[in-house]
């Protein structure tokens, strides 16, 4: 056998070894970080259920060339250092193609920094701070749940529609968690109000710590203001605690309460049951009763069958995250070429249960933030989704802009 023949044979063998076997589907390995214990654990548990649903959905799409996603879920306990250690292990030992998940924005910033250094894609599914898609942004970070900025943009429009015709400026007090998410939310709301020309005055700003157990001094202080609206930035258990204490002290009788990002989450409506006051203006990144489409109804029902409860909005984010990975890798033709995957993610469009008819969630190619519709509703009596007794209704719908909104200073 000549040297040329041997070389050809060797090349042929290598080629055979690297080609996928006929019929074998492309597989993606993802490592998802969620809090599964401690505060925020429900979001992690819901995300885990949603990942299963997404995997099932992808199985049905396998004949159409969709890759399957193998997912390792790890418990972060909402702690940054622990999350970093887990993420490092997922990258070094498990060799994951994607990191995903993370509920807390501060934890997400830490994980995002590692993803940048290690050049591994990080698909954010449940945190919402604009910092990750602005000053922290890097080529390996993408977020597939609605960001706080879009919630605040919708909130600013809601305030303008409701109070814009008054002769005097609307007085707004803000209370939010004392970390980056809260400050960003308030900053964005003010900027959108200014941008759209809404005249407003700040009647007070309050920053209780995350996982505060006693809001009563802040509620007393809010009661002393002459605010028309109190905009609240709490989420999860903090929101439940705040609402219970505020209801007892009569805050909702005196001020219009609004929470545009997380207060309308189903999990909170279920937790509060009859204690959820009527007439609060709330929103969330996904609603079990909006949009009223067959796709959303099926997702919600499938989740309930799997988990025995209705989903919080975290489920939708995790579901979207798995589909986003599959779509991107499918379009890129595999997991090997990171530039092609990035390009694919930057031009990603997804049809999700949370999309109303005729709309597809789409990625902003510059800021790597998915753009989705935001629905804001009022709390009304509705016991169709037990154990919640009060749901959102009387919806106002806000479509996203063509691209991720930025402000004059570039942020």
């Amino acid at each position: 056998m000549t040297t040329m023949c041997r070389a050809f044979l060797a090349f042929f063998c290598i080629l055979l070894a690297t080609l996928p076997v006929a019929g074998e589907s492309l597989r993606i390995k993802a490592g998802c970080l969620f809090p599964l214990t401690g505060p925020g654990a429900l979001y992690g548990r819901d995300s885990t259920v949603a990942i299963k649903l997404a995997q099932k959905h992808l199985e049905s799409l396998e004949p159409f060339g969709y890759p399957q996603v193998d997912v390792i879920v790890e418990d972060t306990r909402s702690k940054s250092l622990r999350s970093l250690q887990i993420a490092r292990r997922l990258i070094d030992e498990d060799r994951v193609d994607f990191l995903c998940g993370v509920v807390n924005s501060s934890v997400a910033r830490a994980v995002s920094g590692l993803a940048r250094d290690e050049e591994v894609f990080f698909i954010g599914t449940d945190h919402a701070s604009p910092a990750l898609t602005s000053e922290d942004l890097h080529p390996y970070y993408f977020r597939v749940n609605n960001g706080t900025r879009l919630s605040m943009r919708a909130g600013a429009k809601y305030i303008r529609e409701t109070y814009g015709n008054r002769s005097e400026p609307v007085k707004i007090a803000f209370i939010g968690p004392d970390y980056e998410y809260g400050y960003q939310a308030w900053d964005d709301l003010r900027r959108f109000l200014q941008q759209q020309g809404t005249e407003f005055e700040i009647a007070g700003e309050y920053w209780p710590k995350v996982f505060e157990t006693d809001f009563s001094p802040y509620i007393q202080s809010l009661l002393r203001t002459d605010a028309d609206i109190v905009v609240n930035g709490q989420w999860g258990l903090d929101f439940v605690t705040f609402v219970k204490q505020a209801a007892q002290l009569g805050l909702f009788d005196r001020l219009q309460f609004m929470n545009f990002d997380a207060g309308g989450n189903y999990e909170l409506l279920a937790e509060l049951e009859n204690d959820m006051p009527l007439g609060l203006v709330l929103s969330a990144r996904h609603h079990v009763n909006w949009p009223p489409t067959e796709r959303n109804r099926a997702f919600v029902e499938e989740f309930r069958e799997e988990a025995g409860r209705y989903p919080s909005y975290a489920a939708q984010g995790a579901y979207a995250g798995i589909l986003a990975m599959a779509e991107a890798v499918r379009n890129a033709g595999g997991t090997g070429d990171k530039d092609r995957i990035r390009e694919s993610l930057e031009h990603l469009t997804l049809s999700l249960p949370e999309d109303p008819d005729g709309f597809r969630s789409k990625m902003d190619p510059v800021n790597h933030q998915i753009l989705q519709v935001q629905a804001i509703g009022k709390t009304i009596f509705n016991n169709s989704f037990a154990p919640a007794k009060v749901m959102l209704g009387d919806w106002r719908i806000y479509y996203p802009p063509e691209s991720w909104p930025t402000f004059k200073n570039g942020s």
Partner: protein
């Protein structure tokens, strides 16, 4: 005027909670010279036991009035059981060891108690608002306050007074002061020092549990509340002087009013305010307001 009222009432309410939560800590330090970090664990156990028991009881649909009996009972059970287990099971083998070692030992116990609460009650939150709701609210110059808040203030005053009277005007209190002054001489006089240590530790643990149990109807009981309170309680007893019950009362008032003042006047600095006050006091009185550098005092 309204701001002053809000600061006064909120400050007093916060101080009462802090005093109830920290007085057991200072009592144990004063008598046993143990900086008991596990105190946060007793607080959490008390809060969880009370919230769980109140929740269980209210599901029966019976009158809420009985919950005011259930809350101290829950604290008593949680405090006595856990206090006895910790003191008899671990600490009695450590007496006489270095204070720093005791800090590490009690820190380990604290971590164990944190996990015990998670094992028993899980990681979800417990809310038992019924006792606070049932008493309703009263208006103080137009600002609504829960009557329950004033109940906590009254209990804090009662606990402080009871401790003062017991320590200064009863035979047991005087014997305790002798034990504090000199263990060896006390033993020589026939005082059962071991029993005094056990009883003191159990009372301290029960007071911690009572702090948690009484607060439970006003807060959401979640994992981590023990860690939150131990930091605050240390600030209170360091300001007042470690081992001094009067100091704990004064420390609680200082921290309570400063926090309330910052919440109402300059909210962004509220969390920082506690440490600012502590640093300011320690700069002037390094051993706290009531403590003497070289002697034990209670």
């Amino acid at each position: 005027m309204l701001t002053a009222v809000a600061i006064a009432v909120d400050g007093l309410g916060f101080a009462a909670w802090l005093f109830l939560s920290s007085v057991g800590l200072t009592l144990i330090y004063g008598v046993m010279r143990i900086l008991n970090i596990a105190h946060g664990g007793f607080y959490a156990l008390g809060a969880y036991t009370a919230a769980w028991a109140v929740g269980l009881y209210t599901q029966t649909g019976s009158t809420i009035a009985l919950t005011y009996l259930i809350i101290p009972l829950a604290a008593l059970v949680a405090g006595v059981v856990s206090g006895l287990l910790v003191e008899r099971g671990i600490l009695r083998f450590m007496y006489g060891r270095d204070e720093v070692l005791m800090v590490l030992v009690t820190y380990a116990i604290f971590l164990i108690l944190e996990d015990v609460t998670k094992l028993i009650w899980g990681t979800d939150s417990y809310v038992s608002y019924q006792p606070a709701y049932w008493l309703g609210t009263i208006d103080v110059f137009g600002l609504p306050y829960t009557v329950y808040k004033f109940l906590i203030i009254a209990v804090a005053i009662a606990v402080g007074a009871a401790l003062y009277v017991t320590l200064n005007h009863t035979r047991v209190g005087k014997l305790l002061l002798v034990v504090i002054e000199d263990r060896e001489v006390s033993k020589a006089l026939g005082i059962n020092v071991t029993l005094f240590f056990t009883v003191t530790f159990v009372i301290g643990a029960t007071l911690g549990a009572l702090g948690g149990a009484l607060t439970a109807p006003e807060i959401s009981v979640v994992p981590g509340i023990g860690a939150e309170i131990i930091v605050m309680a240390f600030a209170v007893i360091v300001i007042g002087g470690m081992g001094s019950i009067g100091g704990a009362m004064l420390g609680a008032l200082i921290v309570g009013f400063s926090r309330a003042a910052f919440v109402h006047l300059y909210p962004p600095a509220e969390l920082f305010s506690i440490y600012l006050v502590m640093a300011a006091v320690l700069a002037v009185k390094p051993y706290g307001l009531f403590a003497l550098a070289e002697s034990r005092k209670i």
